[in-house]
């Protein structure tokens, strides 16, 4: 196929198989550098700050957040949906793109999947700590009990959420681990005898690299990819039902599932790019994450960003066309009310900024793309904030209208979630191969003729 020939190679430079292994394993096998330590110190401090804030909140009460009778959710659920959204890119890249045979994914899938897991971990904290009594958080799972027997409310979107997120986490973790096995074996084989070797021996589950092993591995991977694919759509669909099944104007909208899924992929891709642009530089992986990736992922960002923009317009249209005075007001209030600054931040970051990526020059500029992805990350956080807070703060009865202002504890908790995310990611970069060596070797120019014929 002509376009394949014309498109730049997936791995730049003429890397041999050994070079790939060396490049990927090197960061794991040497002592961490100053940059890593500095980054880790910052990230871990953020994590500690967040842990202090969460401990204080659990010890004292949800009152330490800026919520009130009218605005019952704000930073907590905003952060939750934001992180779940971030967690979307990984599975999309690893499962859907795998099934669509998008081979460029091999350069970024490992890191993206890891990011997914960490993001889901960050997200998972919030439903728990936002509860008034988090020590009873396990009550939202149906388990056999002696309370008569008391079950959960299967009609509640929050119960669906619990299933959706835990399923997503388990499948993503399994998928990620299965993908890791051949690489873990490589690391094992390179390791000197000692603790490191023992650990990797256990983790690689006795991988022997035999033909039959590879055969079964590929099959398992394919099946898992098939299993994970619906989850990409389902998780954020179900998260959107938290809002869509309610009666609150601004939440009660049938457009929410596709709108949320697109937004999630949008934010996830942005976060993958943010992280990978740093990682390739810091870890010297420029050859494996190159302009080709940048280009493809930028295009995905334009696409999903435009879908999100269309959703914003559709919401307005539906509200105006529907003739419901409460809903009409909610949208006018979003654009012109006390939280208009948040709304316009969201629109400019999510709809306007990504349009710059139409230009090839911008799309191929690492710095500019990095800046745009930061904007998208900010914009997508504000999208959730806008949806949650502006819908709640002025709903039906004007007498109960209220405002919202985060407390220091909430801000510290948000910072802490970033701390957890980056700490986990930094540790991941140190202890596991950030690029799927086994997979990337399959897209090398090595044996290019064979490659072309195969295609």
């Amino acid at each position: 196929m002509a376009d394949i020939v014309l498109s730049p190679p997936l791995v730049s430079g003429h890397k041999s198989l050994v070079e790939v292994t060396d490049d990927v394993c090197r960061p794991m096998e040497r002592r961490p550098g100053l940059v890593w330590w500095a980054a880790f110190a910052v990230a871990f401090s953020m994590l500690l700050l967040g842990m202090a804030a969460i401990s204080y909140e659990i010890a004292t009460g949800i009152g330490t957040w800026g919520l009130n009778t009218t605005v019952g959710w704000a930073f907590d659920i905003t952060n939750f949906v934001f992180w779940i959204g971030i967690g979307h890119a990984g599975t999309l890249i690893s499962a859907i793109l795998f099934l669509f045979r998008q081979r460029w994914r091999t350069g970024v899938n490992r890191a993206a999947e890891a990011m997914t897991l960490f993001a889901v971990m960050c997200a998972g904290i919030f439903p728990l700590i936002h509860m008034g009594r988090p020590w009873f958080g396990y009550w939202i799972f149906p388990y056999p009990n002696f309370r008569g027997s008391l079950w959960i409310n299967f009609r509640s979107p929050l119960a669906w959420d619990a299933f959706a997120i835990s399923t997503y986490f388990i499948i993503s973790a399994t998928f990620w681990f299965v993908g890791l096995i051949p690489d873990l074996a490589t690391v094992r084989d390179r390791a000197q005898p000692g603790l490191r070797k023992k650990i990797f021996t256990i983790l690689s589950l006795g991988w022997d690299g035999a033909y039959t092993t590879w055969n079964r591995y590929e099959m398992v991977y394919l099946l898992l990819a098939g299993l994970a694919t619906p989850l990409v759509v389902s998780v954020h669909t179900i998260v959107s039902w938290d809002f869509a099944t309610s009666v609150i104007p601004g939440w009660h909208a049938t457009i929410f599932p596709p709108y949320f899924v697109a937004g999630a992929i949008f934010s996830g891709m942005a976060m993958v790019l943010t992280l990978m642009i740093i990682a390739r530089k810091v870890m010297g992986l420029e050859a494996y994450i190159n302009l080709r990736h940048l280009d493809v992922m930028s295009k995905l960002i334009i696409t999903t960003g435009s879908i999100v923009g269309l959703a914003y317009l559709t919401e307005f249209f539906t509200a105006q066309y529907g003739g419901n005075r409460y809903e009409q007001f909610v949208f006018l209030n979003r654009a012109g009310g006390p939280f208009a600054w948040a709304y316009w931040t969201m629109v400019s970051c999510n709809v306007i900024t990504p349009q710059l990526l139409w230009f090839r020059k911008i799309r191929h500029n690492w710095t500019l793309v990095f800046i745009i992805t930061i904007f998208v990350n900010i914009g997508m956080w504000f999208e959730r904030f806008v949806i949650i807070v502006t819908s709640l703060h002025r709903d039906y009865l004007p007498a109960s209208w209220a405002s919202y202002r985060p407390t220091s504890i909430e801000i510290a908790t948000l910072i802490g979630s970033f701390g957890l995310f980056f700490t986990a990611f930094l540790v991941f970069c140190r202890v596991l191969p950030v690029i799927a060596m086994a997979e990337i070797k399959g897209v090398l120019k090595h044996g290019a003729n064979h490659e072309e014929a195969h295609r």
Partner: protein
Amino acid sequence: MMPEKHWRSLEEWQAISEPDGAEFAESPIGIAGGPDRRGFLKAAGFSFGAAMLAGCGRTAQKIEPNLAQPEGFIPGRPVYFASTCSGCTAACGTLVKVRDGRPIKLEGNPDHPVSRGGLCAVGQASILGLYDSQRVAQPMLNGKPASWTQADAFVQVRLDEVRKNGGAVRLLTGTVHSPTEATWIRRFLDSFRNARHIEYDALSSSAILDAHTQTHSARILPRYRFDKADVIVAIDADFLGTWISPVEFARGYAESRDPNGARYAWHVQVEPRMSLSGTKADRRVVLGPGEIAAFVNDLSDAVRTGGSGRSEVAEIAKRLREARGRGLVVCGSQDVAVQALVTRMNEALGNYGSTLETDRASRQRRGNDGELGGLLAELRDGRVDVLIVAGANPAFELPGGAAVAKAKLLVVHAERLDETAATAQVVSAASHSLESWSDAEPVEGTASIVQPCIRPLFQTRPWVETLAAWTGKPDTALALIRDEWQKTIFPKAKASVAFEQFWEKILRDGFAQYEPAARAKAATAAAREAEPRRTPPAPEGFELVLYAKTALLEGRHAYNPWLQEVPDPVTKVAWDNYACLAPGAAAKLAVATGDVVRIECGGQSVELPALVQPGQHDGTVAIALGYGNRLSARFAKAGPEWIEARPTLNEKGLVGGNAAPLLTFEHGSLTYSRSGVKLAKTGRSVALACTQEHHTLTVPERLKPAAGATRPIVQETTLVQIRAPGVGHSKEKSRPELWPPDHPYPVHHWAMVVDLNACTGCAACVVACQAENNIPVVGKDEMRRKREMHWMRIDRYYSGAPENPRVAHQPMFCQQCDHAPCETVCPVLATSHSEEGLNQQTYNRCVGTRYCANNCPYKVRRFNWFQYSREDRVANLALNPDVTVRSRGVMEKCTFCVQRIQEAKIESKRADRPLRDGDIQTACQQTCPAKAIVFGDLDDPRSEASRLMASGRRYRVLEEINVRPAVGYLKIVRPDAPADGEKENG
């Protein structure tokens, strides 16, 4: 390892060899050389148990079960005692709910002839006064606790000295309408040569009494019968809020304004600031305090001549003339000349005898400002040897009240160490009215009893006992009161039974009625004597209006957290007083709500945050009295403590600022307004705890949606519409439904109907609900953060021009929806639907996701953001044992008083009779002075609730989202045809 056994006979051998223990053989695992396992465990268990018991260190105490219970006492079952409220001088009848020997709730006594079943917020909250751990627990001498013997001896020695040397003894009290107290005050003072009793009211109506001295030759306060009035002209008198007897008046007012009744009273309110009565008026005339006298003069002229001055005045006069004998002009002015004009006007209109009763005059305010002024002068000159103050706080409430400290001996009978008691040499520890005997005669011919419902919690004494002791004839309050009733009231009541039976009936009913002595009829309306003084408008500056808030009144309840926390019915601000300014005035001064302003006049000044109040006169600033009280210092720790918490108290360590020093004595009357007030910005700003941010049903103009800016949440109608044929009843619109009904409600379907036309917004229900349902106090900061815990709130909406808006009050609480949005979203089934239509909240299942609250269109769910309940062994005695005290992290809300529903159901089951309509009264319904709330069963077509649900005035809030609320609202009735485009707002 069985030891070998020897046998002596075959029988014995058989017994030995029988496998008795073999079946449950000891485990082969034994402890070698020691006891076997079971033995070891026994020994271990014994020694462990012994060690435990020894460690407990509690010696055995012998208790005996009470096999023979006191008669009629069933643990867990409440007993009600009829008593009288002492929250203010209105003396409403109460029923005290006593559970297991302690009073836990006050309810209005429906049979009481004055209050007729209502009880205001102050009355509801007064139970906290009983369980107040910071009361004066025993007498005090020079600031040190003493015994009663010591205190009495100390006082007796001083009094005997004065008896001998003829020194001046002055007794200063609030209004005394207790017959027994009055008798004993007389006896006590008779023992001195130079003694006088001075009564005063911090919220004085002295000018009305003085005017009647002129016109009726008797210093009386007529009893106002709003229930008989067809035209009500209230001039600067907040009769629904704080004026004389609001509960009684609100009930009468509601009766006169029943849209389904034969007559519907027309109400015009003339006032400088937006009062609670003003919010209900059909027409509201905004006049500055300096214009009131001229208005009364014009009105009086117009009534007399039928001529016309101002067109507005002419119309009011016309209406009054048309309703001869059915009109009522009331006036809160403290100008005797103005009051005399009002009296003559009422006389000329033939209103005396119908809407104003003088033969059964009110005794609810008897204060004499002239005498009070005299006493203060005496005090300043140091001419008072002994000043005894009882049931009043002159040092706080009066301008120059600090002069009480100049008396040579200051004796104060008080429940708390207020400003006056704190300076006294002797403090006589007063009992709360729930722990002492007393009586009251709020209206001539109606004597009401005050019964103790618990033994005094501290070493306190009722006032009448103290009086008797200091007179030298000590006796118990019960004996004194019985004696008084036997001697004076029993003969007047002309009962056909012996006194013992009469007394028992009094205790059961709570009151006695008798024919009062006939009073001389009024002198015919003589020609006008004097033009009322027309205060020339001050050349510059603002006019100051000092008023009382419905909850705190003159400040005697400043200790009461419920009353501090209930939002003001008009401003919706809790925990503060403030300077109310008209929107125009605020704009001119460039002052916004919360900006601290300095109010200065006559050398006195006070700094308070401003509050922009629609409907206020442009040239006035209005400040509530009763704040800045010493007793409010106790709220330093009110509310949760956390890093961003802000204190409830201001920088002075008090709640609000005291405006009483700005009061003046003008022409002998305590005057609540003055001119020439300077206002200046201080540049500081504070956050007021206002529970309502947006004040209209119309969304901001800038964000006006195409489908309509005004929301149909408060609906209005007119008399013409109601009386039009064919609109008397509304049928429940049956919506087409795809699904069969979720809830069939086979036995009961509880519902409530709220009459918005009757509701005055007084917030009695809010406090009643708080008392009934153990609702915690959260403090100013939490209120400011919109985290009030009241299960019931009263939304207040303005409409029309901000200079003189129309006002609607809407009680809002859980609507117990049939299709409840809260129920579907709870992940753990903590909120569920009962088969009687209640949305039940299961506290111990709640994990606190707050999804239910978010999804509630009415925003009536309340979340425990912190652990609000506190350990306070005295205060917590007021908790209702039938209602769970909620812990932090759980959601709560109105339950329709489910504990009352259950109690009534159990009772009906026990008595084997069906539940009757009216058996269940929710706390809000019970206390409502206007009887605006009706609770009942929709499955019973004859219930009052069913009947009202079918009323043409009934609508439901947010009906369009089909959550099917079980609460119906009856539309507000506006007298005039609404202008276009205003049909659906309030």
